[in-house]
């Protein structure tokens, strides 16, 4: 018997991911702004799915309030740009500020368990949303646009936003990937498999969960920043909407909770569904909700988790496999 992490397939695929990232970087040079904008949306979905999976899949923290960070990132951008900061600088500042808020929030939120945590986070998102609604300078309930971005030519603007989205997504996914592969990651996966057992082996469960919570806070703030850069207009009722949580849950459950590749697959699927049923509307959400519930009940490991189990396939390996020695 021997323990291995890499297989030929996973080496090829991980290398391939780098190539895909490089190819993606050239999208704005080749395709029309319309396609660039859509691809930006896909990257945002991938980022959100990966971050929600980091929380729920590895930390066992089911949050229905990550839209708090999305909204704070988005409104933070408008807020700092309003001070005369160059918009792209304002985006980075907003990301850091909104993401950092996850640290004080974690002190409180991580004391809550399961359902308390889920709804506690939701209430925090509601409070943030009401806070924005009460601020006339941020457009109150009617929304506000990031007008500072209009100074750029639309084609350039779309390209800059796309590259920023690609950079954010790559950085956060890579951070998660290397985190999970590090010795720290072994303890995270132990928490995922059995929290009590991990604790009894001396894993500092709360500290590890805080790490994931802060990572997800920054990641969702980054997504919020990208959303306002991509759509140029935000309003509290959409950017703080619990629908974001519905999307994240759908992507992660269908793709595969607690797998690295699954949420990316889930994001691509959701994106495909969104582009096919462009009208959106209630039927589309009924379908999403029903699919998520069915996956939770019948196929809890999701599409990728099931594939992994059946075929022993690892494309972006974060764990180890025990195999027969040849």
């Amino acid at each position: 018997m021997m323990v291995r992490r890499w297989t030929r397939t996973s080496k090829l695929f991980t290398g391939g991911t780098g190539v895909v990232a490089l190819l993606l970087a050239s999208v704005p040079l080749v395709f029309s702004p319309d396609i660039v904008q859509k691809t930006t949306t896909l990257l945002i979905l991938v980022l959100l799915a990966a971050m929600w999976n980091a929380l729920a899949g590895y930390g066992g923290l089911l949050s229905v309030g990550q839209q708090a960070f999305i909204g704070l990132g988005a409104y933070g951008t408008v807020f700092f740009a309003g001070f005369g900061m160059p918009p792209y600088i304002a985006m980075v500042v907003a990301l850091v500020v909104a993401g950092s808020l996850s640290i004080p929030i974690s002190l409180f939120a991580l004391r809550l368990r399961a359902a308390q945590f889920a709804i506690g986070m939701w209430v925090i998102a509601e409070v943030a949303s009401i806070g924005v609604r009460l601020d006339q300078d941020l457009g109150a309930g009617t929304g506000i646009s990031l007008s500072q971005l209009y100074q750029y030519d639309p084609n350039y603007r779309q390209a800059y936003t796309f590259w920023l989205a690609l950079a954010f997504t790559a950085v956060f996914l890579a951070a998660l990937f290397f985190l999970l592969r590090s010795p720290l990651g072994a303890s995270l996966q132990a928490i995922r498999d059995d929290e009590d057992a991990a604790r009894s082996l001396g894993v500092r469960v709360t500290a590890r969960k805080r790490l994931l919570f802060v990572l997800a806070g920054f990641g969702c703030a980054a997504a919020g920043v990208l959303i306002v850069a991509n759509t140029l207009f935000i309003e509290p009722s959409s950017v703080f909407s619990v629908q974001w949580s519905a999307y994240m849950i759908f992507m992660v459950l269908v793709g595969g909770l607690g797998t690295f590749e699954g949420p990316i697959l889930g994001a691509i699927l959701l994106f495909a569904i969104q582009t096919t049923f462009t009208q959106g509307g209630p039927w589309y959400l009924v379908g999403l909700g029903a699919t998520a519930a069915l996956f939770a009940l019948l196929l809890p490991r999701g599409l990728w988790g099931t594939i992994e189990e059946r075929l022993g396939l690892r494309l972006l390996p974060v764990g180890y496999q025990v195999v027969e020695k040849k």
Binding site: G120, I130, R133, L134, L253, V286
Partner: protein
Amino acid sequence: MSVANAILQGIFLGAFYAVLACGLSLMFGVMRIINLAHGDVAVLGAYLVLVIVQGTGLSPLLAFVIALPAMIALGYVLQLTVLQRALKAGILTPLLATFGLSIVIQNLLLLKFSPDVHSLGASAGALTTESWNLFGSISISALGLVVLAVAAVVFTVLHLFLSRTRPGWRMRATAEDPDAAELIGIDSRHVYARATAIAIRSVFDPVSGPTQLIFAFEAVVIGGMGSLWGTLLGGLALGVAQTLGAQLNPEYAALSGHLLFLAVLILRFGGVRLVRFGARA
């Protein structure tokens, strides 16, 4: 005087939240799960009453009596098909499954009924408009009194059910032993409470489910998870916080409720436990 009035209105509002929350509290007490579709099922019950009233011209009260068995049946079906299965699969699965369910119910209602706000006010007659004034500035509405009475009845019945009847004993016994909880189909009395509350409150729209859930959950937590009378107190405290907040600025209503909830969580995680479902009712 306006503060006294606000507190009184808060108690009326809080009684409504308490009725809404007692189902959630009961489910948590017995099965240790939170049904994230709780608010949406409640709104569904309200729509059922609306449909019956509009279809037959019956009074809302009669329509409610007809809708009740249907909602209880739905509660059983939900328990048998979704919750039972989800309970076996771990802590996260019930949350995930009921969240999915919540989105489904909410959007089906949105498809069937327009996103407009509906009201049973017109058919409930004088009940919704009647009110009396005390000392000039304190107003007591008939509807508020009815909700308060309903809350008193619902909580007394639930308490008697848990402490005096055989199914009640069984339920408390399972609350003591979570592994055995899945062996019982939870009594759908919570659905009773929900439908009552919303039907009488009389204003609702398809997307109000999540808000109902948040308020109900806040009432449960403020009163202490799994405590029946605590939930009643929690509901009243939430209602008073909201109306007092609204006194300062109408926009502060929900906010002050949220802040009370967060403050309670921070100060005393677990809250006041007056009565447990477990040891003694």
